[in-house]
Structure formats: structure tokens, C-alpha cells
């Protein structure tokens, strides 16, 4: 499958502080990728670097085969972007900004706009500065998806939305992606949403990629090992890829990067212990990684 985004050895610093460190990955056309990471992990910088709002210190980014920031007008028309804090011309009315944004694009799904304006209870004649944060976010999303972009980049799109609007947004996003024509890359803190929409996850930690792949694959790899020993546990447990460890004299809970690398039988025998493996949800994995 052809890659719509290719990031190679991307490094970005601000005032001497490295935010993104040697990041490389590719996003195939038609996929839905969720970007997960704690505050300050570099999610927004990564998304903004992809579309050219930040210029890379090192490395390269390409979209549809064109290097960022030298994108052609045709390629830019294929990209939809919603920033974390909606960037709107606040002095306009909802209808004015719809008309204004429409003037930029050759493709515009007016039916979808009208449907979402009604469905999300936005008033066309309302001044934007009077909209709530959530309403502004909704409007930003509508403006981004109306041109039916091939690549939709969303920076925490649901952070300001109420649960009902979140579900509606996810439903819309899934419908847009049904024919695999649209690629979606979005960042979020809400792992349940991510699991619902995305098949792929890109996990950022301290400016580097911790994991990139199927969510199921991640859930199969990362697990928690509960150890209850008949004798006193040694100071050092010989377990590879420990993410997190809680240990008492006879018991231990160990979160490991890849459960397949742990020889459970051997460990049980070595420690004279009962061992139970607990599969973790995406939410648990996220917490374990950052605890």
C-alpha cells in the first residue's frame, strides 16, 4: 500500500530543548492512526511538523510524495487539519467563515456541512466569538472535513467535546473512512476513542516513538506479570523489558514490554512462585508507561 506520509529521522528542538528526537515512520494511505502520548510528549509538534507549520531541524517529511514544506497547491488541497485550539476568525459569523473557507477549495461537501451544522446544533448566524470552546471545536472539524480531504490530521479533536458530540464525531469519522479513501491521523488522550476508531497506534514518549503498530499487537505484547513466591524474592528479578515494577518481600507485579520474551515456566521454577499474566487495556498500558 502506498504511503501518504513518510517521516524520516525527524528532529525538532525549541530553545535548545529537543521535542522530537530522530523520529521515523510511515502512514499508509487509507489507514487511521492514533497518536498517543502524555502532555509534552511531542504530539502537537509532530503533527504540525508533518503539515509544515514547523520546519524540521533535521530529517525529512513527505506528504503524497512531496517534501514538506514545498507542497504543491494540489497536495495542500488534499490535507485537512484541526488544531488543538481552534484557529478561527472570531469576528466572523459561522456562515461567513463557512463561505470564506469554501472559497479556498475546489471540492466542498455542502450537504455534509449543512447536516453537521444541524446535527451538532450550531447556529449559522452566530458570531464565532460567542461560541463555546466545544462549539468552536465542532466548527473547526466541520471546516476541515468539508473539502473531503485525502489526509485528515486532527490534534486532540474531541478534547473539548461533550460525550454525545464525541460519539457523533467518531461516527462521522468512521463513515468518512468506510471506503478507505481517507487517511486519518489524530492525537488524543482518550484511549477508548482511539481503540474505537484507530487500528494503528503511534505511541510517543519523551519525543521518541515508543511503539508504532496495531493496537492489538501492542495489547498482546505489553502485559502485567503477577508473582506470588513461596520464598523471599531476590532483589533483582531476571525479567527482560521491565516497564514498571512493584515488589514486596514475597509478591511482585511487573509490567513488561513484551510478554513473549518472558519465559514464564522458567521464571516460576526459578522463583518458586505462582505466576499469573494479566492482559492490559490500552488505557492501562498508557498509565503503566507513564507511571
Amino acid at each position: 500500500m502506498q504511503n501518504i506520509i513518510e517521516v524520516t529521522q525527524l528532529t525538532k528542538s525549541f530553545k535548545g530543548q529537543t521535542v522530537l528526537n530522530d523520529i521515523s515512520f510511515a502512514v499508509p494511505k487509507g489507514s487511521v492512526v492514533g497518536l498517543l502520548g502524555s502532555n509534552g510528549a511531542g504530539k502537537t509538534t509532530l503533527l504540525q511538523s508533518i503539515i509544515g507549520l514547523h520546519l524540521a531541524d533535521q530529517g525529512k517529511v513527505s506528504i503524497c510524495g512531496e517534501y514538506v514544506p514545498n507542497l504543491s497547491a494540489a497536495t495542500k488541497q488534499k490535507i485537512g487539519y484541526v488544531s488543538q485550539e481552534s484557529e478561527l476568525l472570531t469576528w466572523m459569523t459561522v456562515q461567513q467563515i463557512i463561505d470564506y473557507t469554501r472559497s479556498f477549495y475546489t471540492r466542498w461537501n455542502a450537504n455534509l456541512v449543512n447536516f453537521l451544522i444541524n446535527d451538532w446544533a450550531l447556529n449559522s448566524s452566530q458570531k464565532i466569538h460567542k461560541l463555546s470552546t466545544g462549539q468552536r471545536q465542532k466548527l473547526s472539524i466541520i471546516l476541515a472535513i468539508a473539502p473531503e480531504p485525502d489526509l485528515l490530521i486532527l490534534d486532540e479533536p474531541v478534547a473539548s467535546l461533550d460525550p454525545i458530540s464525541r460519539r457523533k464525531f467518531i461516527k462521522t469519522l468512521l463513515e468518512l473512512n468506510t471506503n478507505d479513501a481517507q487517511t486519518v491521523v489524530f492525537s488524543t488522550h482518550i484511549t477508548s476513542d482511539l481503540e474505537r476508531i484507530a487500528a494503528e497506534v503511534l505511541l510517543l514518549k519523551d519525543g521518541s516513538i515508543y511503539f508504532h503498530g496495531d493496537i492489538d499487537e501492542l495489547k498482546e505484547k505489553v502485559a502485567k506479570v503477577h508473582i506470588v513466591a513461596n520464598q523471599k524474592l531476590p532483589n533483582q528479578l531476571n525479567i527482560p523489558g521491565v516497564i514498571n515494577l512493584i515488589k514486596t518481600e514475597h509478591q511482585a507485579s511487573v509490567t513488561v514490554e513484551n510478554i513473549n520474551d518472558v519465559n514464564i515456566d522458567q521464571l516460576s521454577e526459578q522463583l518458586d512462585a505462582n505466576i499469573r499474566i494479566e492482559p492490559l487495556s490500552l488505557d492501562d498500558i498508557f498509565v503503566e508507561l507513564h507511571s
Partner: protein, 472 residues
């Protein structure tokens, strides 16, 4: 994010000793300045300029502390900050020090102080403070009006030996005193009801920064002024109908411009164009300029002439300064239009955007120069003064535009702020020197004082406008 009033915040963040020394230095400087003029009997202008300047510095300090106090109180988060109560008390203390001590010292040093006069000044200051906490614009207008009135009053006293301050008031000063006090209390009561302890507040907040201004608002509102938004909408509607706003870049760049200065310039244009055809307006305009033409006889003229000279100086500064919001908005427009504008490549995109910015800048310079020229033309100003002002206009326009460019490109913005305000100060003091009937040595003192005052005001205004615009 730094406060709009960075200078005062920096002071506040430091120890109480620094705050005390700053307040003491301000008071001593004002008193020394007042004493200097008292000991040097000169025509009335100097005393008037002194009071105006003394009160303006009071106003700038008062506005800063009142704004800070208002922001601290209004936020739903600030009370969570460690040291919140201390910040509140320090702000209040500074306000009290400023509005009690500086006007009192100024008036007493000039030998005009009586208990009634001082009480009235202090009461007005209290009222202005309360209004400023609620609305800084309303507070500034009120304070400016008070300053202008007090100056007129002083001039009348000077002109009529044996008369006292407020003798010319047609209403009993005690009545005014009581009225202002009652009104202040009512407004304060309403304010406390709205923002006071009964207001539901958040109990927890997650933030990586403990800086109070970061906690102030979840999302800083940029063009909060009704005038700004309304004016952009009017310009957008008219521009579209006339075909003047033809492309998307114009609209995006229009969006962030700080419109208040444009409105002020519009009012100036209207006034002076009307003056061309309507005699009464023309007479006011000529009155404005009177000081330029009649240096030697300025003392003999009515007191308001000196006031209007001062106003004129401010108006000319407004016209001569470059509207840097045109430049600061480029950053926003660049982000906003980057994916939307159908232009190939990064260089072409920047070139296209900069062409629009240059066009807007050219329009800005042309229009402001026309208004400036119109003022000078109506004043029938000739000779050196005319050419000094014309060349001053272009010199300052170029200087402020250059500083505007540096402002958006430079990483050392504090230095740029300083240079910008230095420029304002020099320009302001130079025109003031031209208008005031004073000796060269006095003008040096005045210039220095103007410089300090404008540096403080300038830094505040620039930081405010820049932060606002960048966060639109």
C-alpha cells in the same frame, strides 16, 4: 506566558524590598520633579505639564496594579495559586500607595494642597481604581478626563491670583466627594457580588505552570474589544461591496489587526476633513495648533490651549507610529492560510503573503500621512516646524516599522520593546519640546521624564497588543 504588564509583574515576583524601593523611588522622583518646578518660577505651562505628567505616571501605575488585581480576582483558577492572597494584598497596597502618595506629593510640592483638595483627588483616584478593576478602558478614559480637568483647574488658579483649587467648580466639592464615594461603594458591591466569594470556583486545576497569568484564562481571548470585532466586520462588509477586499489574504490579515488605533485615526480624519468645510471645527483645529505658532504668547492664552497642545502631541504620535499589528498578524495569517492558499511551494507562499503585507503597509503609511498633512495644512504651519514635523513623521514611521519587523523576528523581544518605547519617548518629548514654552535645560528634564513614563506605558501597550494578537 508573561503578563501584559511584565514590568510590574517582574517587580512583584521579587521581594517586598524591591516593591518598597520602587514605590519609594517613584514617589521621590515625583516629589523632586515637583520641587524643581516650584523652585524655578516659570510661566504657567511648566506647572501644567508637571501636573499632567505627574498624574499620567500615577495613571499608568494605577492602571497596571488595578488591571493585575482585576485579573487575579476574575479568574476561576488564580485562587488555587500559592501566594494568591499575598498577590492580592500587594496589588491593593501598591494601588493605595500610588493613588494616595503621588498626587498628594505633587500637589503639596506645588503648594496647592489643602485637606479638601487632597481628599477629592484621593476619592477620584479610588473611584478610578474601582472602575479600572472592572474595565481598564473605562478607567483610563475616566482617569484621563480627571487629569485634563485638574490641569485646567490648576491653570485657572495660576491665572487668577488669590483663588484656590476647585474654586471654579459650580458644585460643592463636598457633595462631589460624597457622590463619588457612594457611587464607588455601589459599584464595588456589584463587583463583589459578581466575582466575590459566592462565585462558584474550581477546586482543582492541572497545569504545569504556576504563573498566575497562565492560570488566568484557559484560552486567552484575543480581540476582546467590541470595537475591534465590530470594526473588522464593518471593514469586511464595506470592503467586499466596494471590491477593496478582493482576496483571502486581505481577510486573514485583517482579522488580527488591532482596530482601536484605526478607529482613532478614522475619527481624526473625519474631524480634520470636516474642519476643511465647517468653520467651528476649523477653529478648534487652529486652537490645537496655536502653541506651535505663538510660542512667546502661549502663556497669555487660555489654559485649554496647553491641554490641546498635549493632546495634539499624542495624536501626532498615534499617526506617526506604524501599526505593528500588521506585522504581528503575519504569523497568524501564515499559519491560517498555509494549507488553504492555493500556491505552489513555500517560497511562493511567503512571497505572496508578504506582497499583501507590503500593500497593506503602503496603505497605512499613505492614509496616516494624509491625515497628518491635513492637520498641518489646517494649522497653516510653515517654516522649520512644518519640515521638522514632516520629516519626524517619516523618521518615526520608518523607525517603528523597523522595530515592528524586529519584534516579530527577534528572539530578544525585551530589548526590542525597550527600543520601541525609547523611540516613542524621544518622538514624544521632541514634539512636546516644540509645543511647550520652556528653556532647553527644562526640556531635558521633561524629556527624561517623558521617556521613563512612555517606556513604562509603551512596554505595557506593546506586550498587551502583541500577546493579544498572537493568540487570536
Amino acid at each position: 506566558m508573561r503578563s501584559s504588564f511584565a514590568v510590574f509583574n517582574v517587580l512583584l515576583k521579587n521581594s517586598g524590598l524591591v516593591i518598597f524601593l520602587t514605590a519609594l523611588a517613584t514617589i521621590l522622583a515625583t516629589a523632586a520633579f515637583a520641587g524643581f518646578f516650584k523652585e524655578t518660577p516659570k510661566p504657567n505651562n511648566q506647572a501644567i505639564v508637571l501636573v499632567v505628567q505627574g498624574l499620567i505616571i500615577t495613571m499608568s501605575l494605577l492602571l497596571s496594579w488595578a488591571q493585575r488585581f482585576g485579573k487575579l480576582i476574575r479568574s476561576g483558577f488564580n485562587h488555587l495559586k500559592v501566594g494568591f492572597n499575598q498577590s492580592i494584598w500587594v496589588s491593593l497596597l501598591m494601588m493605595i500607595s500610588v493613588f494616595l502618595l503621588i498626587p498628594s506629593f505633587t500637589i503639596m510640592a506645588l503648594g496647592f494642597g489643602t485637606p479638601l483638595q487632597l481628599s477629592l483627588v484621593v476619592t477620584i483616584a479610588v473611584f478610578c481604581t474601582i472602575i479600572t478593576i472592572i474595565s481598564s478602558i473605562a478607567g483610563a478614559i475616566l482617569m484621563a478626563s480627571t487629569v485634563l480637568y485638574l490641569t485646567t483647574e490648576l491653570a485657572r488658579v495660576e491665572k487668577n491670583p488669590g483663588s484656590a483649587f476647585f474654586d471654579f467648580l459650580t458644585i460643592n466639592p463636598y457633595f462631589i466627594l460624597a457622590f463619588i464615594l457612594v457611587l464607588s461603594l455601589i459599584i464595588l458591591q456589584l463587583y463583589i457580588q459578581t466575582y466575590g466569594p459566592n462565585r462558584p470556583r474550581k477546586r482543582t486545576a492541572q497545569t504545569e505552570s504556576n504563573e498566575e497569568i497562565s492560570l488566568r484564562l484557559k484560552k486567552p481571548n484575543a480581540l476582546t474589544s467590541f470595537f475591534d470585532r465590530g470594526w473588522i466586520q464593518v471593514k469586511y462588509q464595506i470592503g467586499r461591496r466596494l471590491g477593496a477586499i478582493r482576496n483571502a489574504k486581505d481577510i486573514a490579515l485583517l482579522s488580527g489587526q488591532y482596530q482601536t488605533i484605526a478607529i482613532l485615526r478614522g475619527v481624526l480624519l473625519l474631524t480634520f476633513v470636516t474642519g476643511l468645510f465647517y468653520q467651528p471645527i476649523n477653529e478648534i483645529v487652529i486652537g490645537f495648533i496655536d502653541g506651535f505658532q505663538n510660542h512667546a504668547s502661549a502663556v497669555e492664552k487660555e489654559a485649554p490651549v496647553n491641554l490641546v497642545q498635549f493632546l495634539l502631541v499624542m495624536l501626532l504620535s498615534v499617526l506617526a507610529s506604524y501599526d505593528t499589528s500588521l506585522l504581528t498578524k503575519v504569523h497568524f495569517a501564515q499559519r491560517y492560510l498555509w494549507l488553504k492558499l492555493p500556491v505552489d511551494g513555500f517560497s511562493n507562499f511567503k512571497r505572496s503573503l508578504m506582497a499583501t503585507v507590503l500593500k497593506s503597509s503602503l496603505v497605512e503609511v499613505t492614509i496616516t500621512f494624509l491625515i497628518f498633512w491635513l492637520i498641518l495644512r489646517q494649522s497653516s504651519l510653515t517654516g522649520d516646524y512644518y519640515w521638522v514635523l514632516i520629516s519626524g513623521f517619516f523618521a518615526f514611521k520608518f523607525y517603528s516599522a523597523f522595530m515592528g519587523v524586529l519584534l516579530i523576528r527577534s528572539k530578544v523581544s525585551h530589548l526590542i520593546y525597550f527600543l520601541v518605547t525609547l523611540g516613542y519617548g524621544v518622538f514624544f518629548a521632541a514634539i512636546l519640546y516644540l509645543t511647550a514654552t520652556i528653556e532647553f535645560s527644562d526640556s531635558l528634564v521633561l524629556s527624561g521624564f517623558s521617556l521613563v513614563m512612555l517606556m513604562i506605558l509603551g512596554v505595557c501597550i506593546y506586550r498587551f497588543s502583541r500577546q493579544s494578537i498572537l493568540n487570536t
